[in-house]
Structure formats: C-alpha cells, structure tokens
C-alpha cells in the first residue's frame, strides 16, 4: 500500500557564501516518509524549506546526494537509465506556472501529444483521439487542441498541464503549487478537477503547497517541512485539530483568518527562516522556537511517531510521552 518509500534522502548543493568560502546548502536533509497509494499527501512549508527540491529529487529530476527512493518497490536511485525512462511514465509533475511550462510555439494539442510521441504509444490516429479524450477529461473542448498557450487563460493552461501529465496513465503525480498563481475562483475549479481525477483514475498525489487553507481542504495527510527536514507528519484532520510541533502551530496561527469577528492575534513568529547553508546543530527551529530548551540547541530531534499516525520531530514530545505514559506510542528516538 506504500507507493513511494523515501529513505534518508539528502539533496545537498555546493555553494560559495559571500566571503568566497565553500559551503554546503542542505536543501533536503535526511528525509524519510512514505506516500501511500491513492492518498493526497500535502508537503507544506515556507519558501526555501526544500519542498520543491524534495519533489524533484523524488522524481530523480534532481540527483540525491544520499538516500533511496523506492517507487512500487524499485529503487529509483539505482535504476539504469533505460528502466528509469519507462518507469517515468508512471510518475508525472505539474508545476506552479502553467504558462511557463508550455512552449509558446507549440499548439495545445501537440503539447499534450508530446509524451505519447516520445514513448511511441499507439498509432497516429490513436494518439489524436487520446489527445481529444484528455482535453475533455480536464474540462476543455477538443477544439482547444488548435490553440496556442497565449490564447488560453491561466486556469485553462493549468488544465492543459494536467492533461499532459495524465497522457501516459501515471499512478503518481507531484503537483508543485498547482493553484498558487491562479485566481481564487479558478483555484477552486482546478482543485475540484484534481480531486475528481484522483478518484476516477486512482491517482496518488504529492501536493506541494504553502496555503494552509487549501491544504486542509484538499489533502488526506500533511507533512510540514522546515529547513530541509520534515518536522511533523499526520493525517490532515489530526494535524489541523492538534498541531504538535511549535513550527506547525506557528504556521497555523499565522494563516489569515477569514472572519472579521475573530479575535486578532499577534504574529506567531518573529524573524525569517534561517539559511539552509550550514544549518545549526540541534533542532533547526530552535533559533525561532518559543519553547526551545537547552537540549534543542544540542541534539537533533528525530521524526518520531508519538501517537499512532502522528509523527513529530521535537524534543517536547518524548517527554510528554514519558510523563503521560502513552503506551500506544511507538518511538524510534534513541533518546
């Protein structure tokens, strides 16, 4: 039932800091989690936290520095290029800016047909009818095939990007901020379309996003990322009802409340996300955490299952576990 298993994945980039010194940017650092078949796992975090790099590394669009990615049991990091290419049909990605991901000189129909041509699927007529079928599937008209990207709106372009991603019958789709550049009324259309497609085509999504309200609405589980690490992972309902990590709590408290009568809260976090170049030892959130203890600045907390299905990387919780004696909690922490 696990479609994708991510084990100790690291993506590091060599960089030069302003003084000319060489340093390592830890974009993704020792990340482990699973993506279950047919779920919508949301990956949430602020800019620079590594969520897009993680998505690209899972698909091997970016080579990992260390770690493994098992897709349906096969280790993508060790696969020969030929096998990787044929496995790619089953995993696709949809990006934030739909117009940026379409070639302005290529008609919509050809853009959707490209993957069929590249993988030599069916006869020319079969490809043509598949393109029409895909256009209808994403709520466009077959006549849209003859239009060019500048002749369609942002929402329609995102539908085209989704159609192209679906052309090869994938089972896994990474959607990297697919509605962030769209207007609200169009956002709802695309989210509803993606929800319908998941059911009708039995898709699994990794949904990368920063809008917490969109994520709550759309996802089944949520992983929260901070400075290259997953700090909390839980079912959507659970994490919104009872966020455990102080960073998740702060993120939720920072989201605008669409209610003029709700009490006004002071900003939950001061300062900005620190640089992922040479991140601090210990917990990476310690420098901004209102609950930070001495141990947080020294020991790196591991992602631990503190309650069934609820994982958190925070020193507060193994202690909670001891004090309240949660006997059903399984822990992998060496502390």
């Amino acid at each position: 039932m696990d479609l994708v298993v991510i084990e100790d994945l690291c993506t590091h980039f060599p960089v030069r800091v302003s003084t000319g010194r060489r340093a390592i940017l830890h974009a993704v650092d020792k990340v482990s989690f699973v993506i279950r078949r047919n779920e919508i796992l949301a990956l949430v975090g602020e800019s620079g936290c590594g969520k897009s790099t993680l998505g690209r590394t899972i698909l091997q669009l970016q080579k990992p520095t260390a770690g493994r990615v098992l897709f349906d049991g096969q280790d993508l990091t060790a696969l020969p290029p030929g096998q990787m290419r044929s496995l790619r049909r089953r995993m696709q990605i949809v990006f934030q800016n739909p117009h940026g991901s379409l070639d302005p000189r290529v008609a919509i129909g050809q853009a959707i047909r490209d993957p069929l041509d590249i993988h030599a699927i069916g006869t020319s007529d079969e490809r043509q009818s598949r393109v029409e079928e895909l256009l209808v599937l994403v709520g466009l008209h077959p006549d849209h095939a003859h239009r060019f990207p500048h002749q369609i709106s942002g929402g329609q372009a995102q539908r085209v990007a989704i159609a192209r991603a679906l052309a090869l019958h994938p089972d896994f789709i990474i959607a990297d901020e697919p509605v962030s550049s769209l207007d609200v009324s169009i956002q709802a259309q695309i989210l509803n379309l993606m929800a319908d497609l998941r059911i009708s085509l039995a898709l699994t999504y990794l949904f990368i996003a920063h809008n917490l309200a969109v994520v709550e609405h759309f996802s089944t589980r949520v992983a929260v990322m901070y400075l290259g690490r997953i700090v909390e992972l839980a079912p959507s309902r659970e994490i919104y009802a009872r966020p455990l990590h102080p960073y998740t709590q702060a993120l939720l408290a920072s989201a605008p409340v669409a209610d003029p009568d709700a009490p006004l809260r002071p900003p939950a976090l001061a300062g900005d996300i620190p640089s992922p170049v040479d991140p601090p030892s210990g917990c990476r959130f310690a420098s901004r955490c209102p609950m930070a203890m001495d141990v947080c600045r020294q020991v790196d907390p591991l992602l631990t299952e503190v309650e069934p299905e609820h994982w958190v990387a925070c020193h507060l919780y193994p202690m909670l576990q001891q004090s309240s004696n949660l006997n059903h909690a399984r822990t992998a922490s060496p502390l």
């Binding site: 929800a195 920072s254 605008p256 669409a258």
Partner: protein, 325 residues
Amino acid sequence: MHEPLLLQVEDLRVEFPTPKGSVRAADGVSFRVWPGEILGLVGESGCGKSVTTLALLRLVRLPGRISSGRILFKGSDVLMLPEREMRLLRGGEMAMIFQNPMTALDPVFTVGDQIAEVFQAHPNLRTGDVRTAAAAILERVRIPNAKAQVNAYPHQFSGGMAQRVMIGMGVAGRPSLLIADEPTTALDVSVQAQILDLLRAIRTELHTAIIFITHDLAITAQLCDRIVVMYAGQVVESSSTRDLFRAPRHPYTRGLLDSMPRLGQKRVRLEQIPGQPPDLGALPMGCRFAPRCPRAEARCRAEEPILAPSGDAREVRCHFPLEAP
C-alpha cells in the same frame, strides 16, 4: 465618519488602445476613502484594481490614459494638478508600495542611500542628518539594529525586511494615504502576518489611510474596515468588511467567498464560479458577470446594472442583489 472625505474617486475611466480598439481597464470606477481607514480593494487579476490605484497617483503608463472621471484628494482634483505639484504629492501626502520589494529596491545602493532619496524629493521631511533620519525610518518599521542596517544592501535583507524598508520609505512623509498593492503576496505566511501587523500599527500611529489591494479576501477580514470588490473594470460591491463577509449582496462577492477554502471548514467540494472573467475587449451585453452568474435572468443579459446604494452605507451593482440571510 464625521471627518471630511480623504479621497473621492468618481466615474474614473482608464483606457488602453489595442489593435481591436480601445479597452477600458477601469470603467466608471467610484469609491471613497475616509481619513485613517483601511480600505480593501479586492478582485481577480485583470479586474482593474491596480490600474485604478496607479491612476490615483497619475502613474498610468502610456499608451494607457485616464480618459474621464474625477479624483478628489483632500478637496482638490488630482487630475488637474500641474506635474510639479503632482511630484510633491507622490511620496509625500500619497505614497505607494508594491508587491515585490526586491525589484523596487536598487541592488547597487545601500538601503540608507535609497531612503535618502525620499529626503531629496521632500527636503522638509528631514530633521537632523540623513543617516539619523534614515535610521529613524527603519526603526519605525521595526527593523532591528536600524543604525547599522542603514549601510546594508538590499540583497542582505530578506523579502519581509525589504518590504519593511519599502513601507518605511512610503510613510517617511507621513502620508494621509498609503496605497499598498499586494504587499504580502510574495511573502510567506509567517512574514505576511508580521507585515499586516506593521500596517495596522502604522495606521494607528500615523493615522494614515491605507488602500490595500489584494486578490485574497481572507487577508482583508482582519485588516480592512471596508471593502470594495471589483470585477471586469468596475466596482460591483462596496461595504463594511463585517457586512460583506456576513451577507454579501453581489453574486460575484458571494462566489469569491464560497470558492475560498477556509481553515477549520473542510468541505468535500469547493464551490466554484464557472467560466472565467470576460475579455475586456469583448464584453458581454448587460451585466459583465451575467455569463457566470447563477442568478442571471433575461434582464441581466440586456441591461447593464448601475452601482446603486443598497442599505446601510453599502453599494451594489446588480439587478437582483442577494438579500440578507
């Protein structure tokens, strides 16, 4: 609301020539701003909200032009002012900040140098030497270690800090009106919360009225006193924030509220507004929202509604406005 109006925009039209003829990006826009209030100007891309506010400062770029209307600011018509006076007004009594602070700041000058430019344009604002005055501005927008940061370059600032600098430069002249065009759209939620908090504080400390332009209704709920909703170049509804969220009158406002996912209210499906906003060069007959409106009737497709008073200090452009629940 006993104070006299700060700003009154009447029937403002901004036109852009296109190969297919003239397009009205703002078409008969009217709204008012009282001193010290925060007004949300809300709408989707292309609705005319940005061009309307650029027109307030007479910054509409050629070949666009303001073809008609009146902009009364503190009693005088902005459109009649000579350019010399207009230049004193901009960054003085009326200031503007933009979405992306990093492109608004020049990377090769220190933040202090760029703040100093405000004093060059408005020498009367400076008290003491330029460095001290610049540091005071950074302090006002809560930039830690302000005296040293005057010498920093923009790349040494995060997006949130850079937006604080822009706000600082904007309010250096203690303007009566600050126009903020999507100032938090490029920022993360935790930083967005800090900037919204700063804008509230600026309003309280300086009694500056703020026009806050956004596509995100969720932000306006806890920031704005009143909201003006625009669609396809026109104002379709204006109301107090509370009334607008409680009982929207225009079906488009209702659609925007319903299509917005909200924290704590997980729904199986989001309501969606079908279709997309019209092409301003090929507007439908009658009401511009009629093709997407669930309540549209024959009259809506034939006759364009006017922006009419609708109850307590509200206005709505609709033949069949929604009733209070």
